[in-house]
Amino acid sequence: MALARGNRRRTALLFALPCALTALLASSVARADDADELAALLDEHVVNGASKSDEVATDAPGTTSVITAEDMRRYGIRSIAEAIDFLGMGLVTQNPLHSVEIGGRGVLLTSDFGNHVLLVVDGHVLNEPWGGTAYFEQGAGIPLELVDHIELVLGPGSVLYGGNAMFGVVNVVTKRAASFAGLHFIGEGGLSPEQGGNGKLTSFAPGDLGGSYRLAAGIGHKLTLFGRPAELTAQAELYRQNGPTFLWDRQASTNEDGTPTNVGARAPVGQWGGRIRSQYDTSVPSVYARLDLGSVSVMVRAETYHRRTPTQGFGQLISDFDEPRSFERDRFVSADVQYRTRFGSRFTFSARGYADAYDYLQNGYSSEPSSCSVPTAGPCLFVARGHSRWIGSELQGEYDWTGSGRLTTMLGVDGRVRQVGGETNSVEADTGVVAGVEGKKSMTELVGAAYLQQRWTPVPFVHLNGGARYDVDPRGGTRVSPRAAAAFDVWRNGVLKVSYAEAFRAPTFYEAFYASPDQIPNPNIRSETVRGLESSIEQRLGRHKILFGVFRTWWSDMLSIRPVDDNVSQYENVSRIDNYGYNARTEGAVGAFRYGGSVTGAYTRRGTPKGTETLPVAPQLFGNLRASYTLPGYWPTVALATTFVGTRPADRALDGNFDPAPYAPASAELRLTLSQRVPGVPGLSYRVAGSFTTGSVVPYVAGPTQSFAADAETRGAAQLTQVVRLVTFATLQYDLPL
């Protein structure tokens, strides 16, 4: 009830703000000259993530930010997560030295693995159905040189995409052959100094440095196949990272019976901590290829994501300290075939067939035999496996009633078969003999959906978009996800938008059916849902743009893992989240100088049966600022970007019994990048960058005290996970015409 108090007043206030801004801006709009007006038109973004149709971003329903390949190159971006943090608006990531966590607009959920953001690449959804997983760091396996642009579609987005699109949709569009013509060879290397406790930089000696490298080869080529024009774009790459090393304070670690835990040879018995040297690395070989042939587009993608995490938690609770035999591995294989054609001048039809396979493996090596669910005679290997395979088809038709694109109706159906399963094994680590198998389960499910979208521009300055999607999912039941949006060209180059949308996320196999020593299944859990209302005003002044928006969201039936008794937990629909806030963005250019920035502020509260509380980990204030200048001739382009987050409560701030409650302080990361072609060597270009983070920790408790312990005695101060504070890297790219 506390959450509802004052809601109407706040909502009214939020939506009055754009009107006030409207009046303010109306008086200040100046008339630009013809060249500025043309340049401004050429600066308009064309997007298709919000409505699955190509449209100008200002006409699209909801708020869309576009991150271009040029900006990613210019500002030293190496992953989708970095692009979101440094160049996006409304979404934010946190890096617990594991796969990054993504959230937005004041909500970020721990151990989410990208579950609440839909990641789409060239129309193909990457979130898999075993754990809802989608990665946004290098583990995404999407070569950045191949990316044309990334659209961040904010707000609930199930109306066209179905589940997972609760924060929004990250729509990655890869380049056409013309924009990636020739052969491309990329080499990239990075270094980071050794870190001591609390993020201090302790050694720059060559032998103490952590490092990463990336090797890639790509091709973009136009050709003729079967007498038809065709385009091939592809890139294969290998990314590897090892270190830096970290120093962790010692923490006492005991077994359930109170005896000291044997945490392996690299730390004293019963004492987790010391320097991590062998448990922070990543390896991601990946390949992405697309062939466009006439009206058909074929995509294939494959990747393996292998990683070791230097803290306990995030799937590695059962591991010796600094144990190289403990790791996680994800593997993805995807194929997608799309066909589009037109019947008559007004009806467009598209068909898409897709097939994906995914598996997950976690190995946790522990010298403590009792760590496995079936105690072993010697050291134990805890092995968790999950897999999902799905194949399906989406048919979509769009009818243009007027022949001018002003009144169009889109109707689509999507059906798939998915097979999902998993198991947990207890293995004698020395011999490989399986001591026991728990929770082995595999199931085949049919999932279907139908959606309808109506776009209407009754007069040139009003753009309406309404629609709904009906999803049938055996997990979580059936859902209808509506959306209604309107964009008004209120005056010269000013656009006011209002939208309402809903989204849902069906429970994953992991949440509903996974069984392990610590977790029991709960097949009765329901889908999470979110409703969102937002409004924004965007004004263009020549080549300068400014946007201010407000939002209000209501999240229901949120799933959390809760203890059932002393030893086991299960997922339950236990909470709701209520939040509101603002986001603002500006970008522009004056000659060779470019700038941009965004800020998002939110007020978020989670309601549980116990009462109302803040939401751990989720930044309530975050954003970025950037500026670059292109120097003449062979002088480099100089680009400075920063991303910042405010103070955040740690993941165990509310239930860890730490004193004081752990918080990660406000932090900013600054990145300076120089890029240019290499003089005298046609086709060769470079990029060098240095990145420094002012904060030393992220809001995730590290070590054995990370374990849930609501009834534990006060445990003193928590140790938080460090950030990699200083990174320098250089990229060389050689482009060879074909």
């Binding site: 060249a35 064309v46 190509d54 100008v56 569009v173 006439g294 008559g344 097939a355 001018s404």
Partner: protein
């Protein structure tokens, strides 16, 4: 997997007999129309060519649904703008026949601007040859048009519209662009 294989076979079969989607411009037609409306002001000879009213001819390929659809939508969008290059505009849509007939029509009817909708890319080089010496601004809906000889074409790069200019064709068709436009465009020969 059998279903996927079957789907692929069916799609390949459909592809061989279909028009290419790959060449279709992804710049929305109403944005193309807005850009077209402004382009005339950057052509020093546009007002002298057009006189008091800018006559615009929008061409499509007969029997090509994509082409007809794009042409119709463009003509309507440009018609709503009313002005091209600062002059009142009249817009007419027609099926493309050949370059020679187009040249005759441009001269006879004092056409100031011709827009080629998707589907006519393969005709463009012959059209450009036929239009040598004809005072007319030609615009194509995708970048391939400029490569093949249209004076201006629209492309989409990194989610932004891009102007592609063919200066050889511009010179041959008495189009003289201001430097401000050249700075904003990609040039092809």
């Amino acid at each position: 997997m059998k279903a996927l294989l079957l789907t692929i076979i069916v799609l390949v079969a459909l592809t061989i007999g279909s028009d290419s989607w790959a060449e279709t411009s992804r710049v929305p037609v109403h944005l193309q129309a807005q850009l077209t409306g402004r382009l005339g002001t950057f052509d020093r000879n546009f007002q002298a060519r057009a006189g008091t009213v800018a006559r615009v001819l929008v061409l499509h390929k007969d029997g090509n649904a994509d082409s007809v659809s794009a042409a119709t939508a463009f003509a309507k969008a440009l018609g709503e703008i009313h002005q091209v290059g600062g002059l009142e505009a009249t817009v007419e849509e027609a099926a493309f026949i050949d370059g020679a007939k187009l040249a005759v029509r441009c001269r006879a009817q004092k056409i100031a601007l011709v827009y080629f909708a998707a589907g006519l890319e393969s005709e463009m080089s012959r059209v450009a040859q036929a239009l040598v010496g004809v005072d007319v601004l030609t615009i194509g809906g995708s970048s391939l048009y400029a490569v093949q000889g249209a004076v201006v074409a629209f492309d989409l790069e990194e989610a932004r519209p891009k102007l592609v200019l063919n200066l050889r064709s511009a010179k041959a068709q008495n189009v003289s662009f201001k430097a401000e436009l050249l700075k904003l465009a990609r040039i092809v020969e």
